[in-house]
Amino acid sequence: MTNQAPEYSSNQSRKKFNLLDIFTRFREVGIIVFILILVVAVTLRAPSFLTINNLTDVLMNISILVIVAMAQTMVILTKGIDLSVSSMIGLVSMMVAFVLRANPDFPVVFSVLLGLGLGAILGLFNALVITLGNVPPIIATLGTLSIYRGMIFYYSQGTWINSFELPQSIKFLSKGRVLGLPNLIYIALLIAIIVYLFLRYTRLGRNIYAVGSNPDAAEFAGIRPQRIKFIVYLLSGIISGFAAVLWISRFESAQTNTALGFELQTVTAAVVGGVSTSGGVGTIPGVLLGALLLGIIQNALTLIRISPFWQLAAQGLLIIIAVISDKLLSRRIVRTK
């Protein structure tokens, strides 16, 4: 058995890796093709689609989605789901907005820190219920989805906070421009890059994939699956808290129905972007494209004057198509193997 040289070497492997890469990234390629077709089709119907202003709008509209989808992706990678992100955003934005109304000179940095801290507390509660209470994530976060939403009503007594009650500085956080583009877009990109590097180049990131793919084998290898799950729900809370501050800045208000239903968009972006709901599979570039596709569809439907209710239907259709195409694709890989 030693006379046959092993069929791989460091150099060779890198070359083959690239070929394989294209194949496994089929998902990304598929979304890009889909996006291009969509862009052409929409531009033919509504030429205003392909203008700098409109495209900036699209990016601006998906920025917060991208940020929260990063959190959702990490959670789904561990075979879980966090349905409470929307309520966390709602509750934290309401609380931060109350503070801002009372103290117009409250520094933006403190607002952000306050948002992160409040989000951490809410995420911590999810994490505890899921890991110590051993409650399935979908049930636990369905519970806190309602609890946190209920707390918004309790906290705000049904009132909401309007643009004129908020200081200019907080609005500038997302709307100030650098090189012609709003800050929010840069912030979203920055978060995406950080999460990308985190998942790809840190031990914790690697362990998230391992636990999601096979929690038993991960435990046999000395990883503590409960600890990893705890961390992703905590991170999800922190990122949602950050998103809440951006939400105030972007929409210049805090209402009882802030971000209502937003959790579904984050799950859709992740799943359309190729994150497997059975855990362990998915990439950040894929999720970015998934979010972009969602944003373009929403924008396009508005431009060609289709009712917003259809946007929900389109989103639903998209997630089903994505999952079916996944199944077909994986079946084909098995067959050609």
Binding site: M1, P6, S10, K16, T202, R203, L204, N214, F220, G222
Partner: protein
């Protein structure tokens, strides 16, 4: 062929490129009891699964009553009168005996309701004709294993099974129960039902079987009338090679005790387990499936810790409540179920190899991927992993190569004690040999190895000492010189009920 009801001709079967059956012939005559014999992994179960339609042969033909036939699924096979009784019994625990016998085909009255009176009277008639005495209204969960088997046989008989396959039916029965079972089997044979009987207990075959077919490593060795062969003939046909050839001789000096456990117990799994493994020693842990061997390994590795007893590493009592602690103490555990516990199948070879020791490839939690890649490459090369490249996903490898990845991953943690749980299960002969020589080399370098295996020749061929477990107890301990297949099997099947009462 004239009086054969079932004939298999040159059956071959491959799973993802690995051939597990190679041109196997088999024929079954009406009313005969035909034993199927072979070591673990010889291909008996695969052959049975082909007969029951669970697997489809890659090559070869099946004839039923001289007509070529192919089964697409188990239902088609059942409809032609083939019934199988597996080791894991399949009764519905909360239904009573009669309901179990008629499950799925209860007699109905005209209004479509179940005709309970008919169901019970027919069941009674059936059991009487078979000479079985079991209360018809007893719930299946209250029956002994032997009684449950009899109910299954009665059920198979009542649907006019012409061919009854019994997979190790006696493995968990007492001697009296075996006698009852054999009486029942002879009864149903009288009606022309043919029986395929799988057992590892050679004595039984001489008592019950008419003919015996032997398989070895997926090959057909031969079919003989039982009264023309001796026990030794059968063993030679099964093993087919002298044990010394297949297993490398280990020239290791036994040194200090690396791992010792004292009076380890966990409710419902194992009791009062004590043993020690020395540096350079291979300790075999034998026993039947379900004897509690894996539970003991899981306890030592901290996956399911024991409730009582002490574990000592190099003489020091230690507390192990997680695999992490076990690893820190220099333990490594290659688990029985490769896909469930050994590998992250969606991850690459590289990532699998480095998973237990990522801290060695990181600087403040930041991964040094080039270093990781280099080490994984070296390990894969050392273990002779055959793959396209080291980024290939673990799930795309053959069983043997997957096992090499798992072994490599654990050896690269530089353990002082290595626990191997069924290290050669489901891998090809070539890889098996490689695993054996690796074990020999490790022992010579001073590794303490605990080898759990259900393959007797493997245990006998590789171990310096052998301990045998049965239903959670240690029922035998032998040195390499003392140990024989018979002694180990005897200990592995010893009736421990008297102990439990104690």
């Amino acid at each position: 062929m004239s009086n054969s009801i079932l004939v298999l001709k040159e059956i071959s079967k491959s799973f993802s490129g690995v051939e597990v059956l190679h041109q196997v012939d088999f024929d079954l005559k009406g009313g005969e009891i035909h034993a199927l014999l072979g070591e673990n992994g010889a291909g008996k179960s695969t052959l049975v699964k082909i007969i029951t339609g669970f697997h489809q042969p890659s090559h070869g033909e099946i004839f039923l009553d001289d007509e070529a036939i192919s089964f697409n699924d188990t239902r088609e096979s059942r409809d032609t009168g083939i019934a199988a009784i597996y080791q894991e019994l399949s009764l519905f625990p909360d239904l009573d005996v009669a309901e179990n016998i008629f499950i799925g085909r209860q007699p109905l009255r005209k209004n479509g309701m179940v005709d309970w009176r008919k169901l019970y009277s027919e069941s009674k008639h059936l059991l009487d004709s078979l000479g079985v005495e079991i209360d018809l209204r007893q719930k299946a969960r209250n029956l002994s294993i032997a009684e449950q088997q009899m109910v299954e046989i009665a059920r198979a008989f009542s649907i006019n099974a012409r061919i009854l396959i019994m997979d190790e039916p006696t493995s968990s029965l007492t001697l009296n129960e075996v006698a009852d079972l054999f009486r029942l089997v002879r009864n149903i044979r009288k009606n022309g039902t043919a029986i395929i009987f799988i057992s590892h207990r050679l004595e039984e075959l001489f008592e019950i079987a008419d003919r015996v077919t032997v398989l070895r490593d997926g090959n057909y060795v031969g079919t003989k009338p039982i009264n023309e062969v001796s026990r030794d003939d059968l063993i030679r046909m099964m093993v087919g090679r002298s044990i010394s050839k297949q297993y490398p001789s280990v020239e290791a000096t036994k040194a200090e005790v690396r791992l010792s456990v004292e009076n380890l117990s966990r409710q419902g799994a194992f009791r009062e387990i004590s043993f020690e493994v020395r540096s350079g020693e291979i300790l075999g842990l034998a026993g039947l499936v379900g004897a509690g061997r894996t539970d003991v390994a899981n306890a030592i590795f901290g996956i399911k810790p024991a409730q009582e007893g002490t574990i000592k590493i190099e003489g020091e009592p230690v507390e192990i409540s997680s695999p992490r602690q076990a690893m820190a103490l220099g333990l490594a555990y290659v688990p029985e179920d490769r896909l469930q516990h050994g590998l992250i199948s969606e991850m690459s070879i590289t990532k699998n190899i480095t998973l237990p020791r990522l801290e060695d490839f990181s600087n403040m939690s930041w991964l040094l991927t080039q270093k990781e890649l280099n080490v994984a490459y070296d390990v894969a090369l050392q273990m002779d992993v055959r793959a396209l490249h080291i980024h290939q996903l673990a799930k795309e490898l053959s069983g043997g190569n997957q096992q090499k990845v798992v072994l490599g991953k654990w050896l690269s943690t530089n353990p002082r004690v290595l626990i191997l749980d069924e290290p050669t299960r489901g891998i090809d002969v070539g890889t098996k040999a490689a695993v054996y020589s690796l074990m020999a080399k490790l022992a010579e370098e001073g590794m303490a190895i605990l080898l759990i295996s259900s393959e007797l020749p493997e245990i006998l061929g590789m171990s310096d000492r052998i301990i045998v477990m049965r239903e959670g107890y240690i029922t035998g301990e032998f040195t390499r010189e003392e140990a024989t297949q018979e002694k180990v099997i005897m200990a592995a099947t010893e009736d421990v009920r008297t102990r439990i009462q104690k």
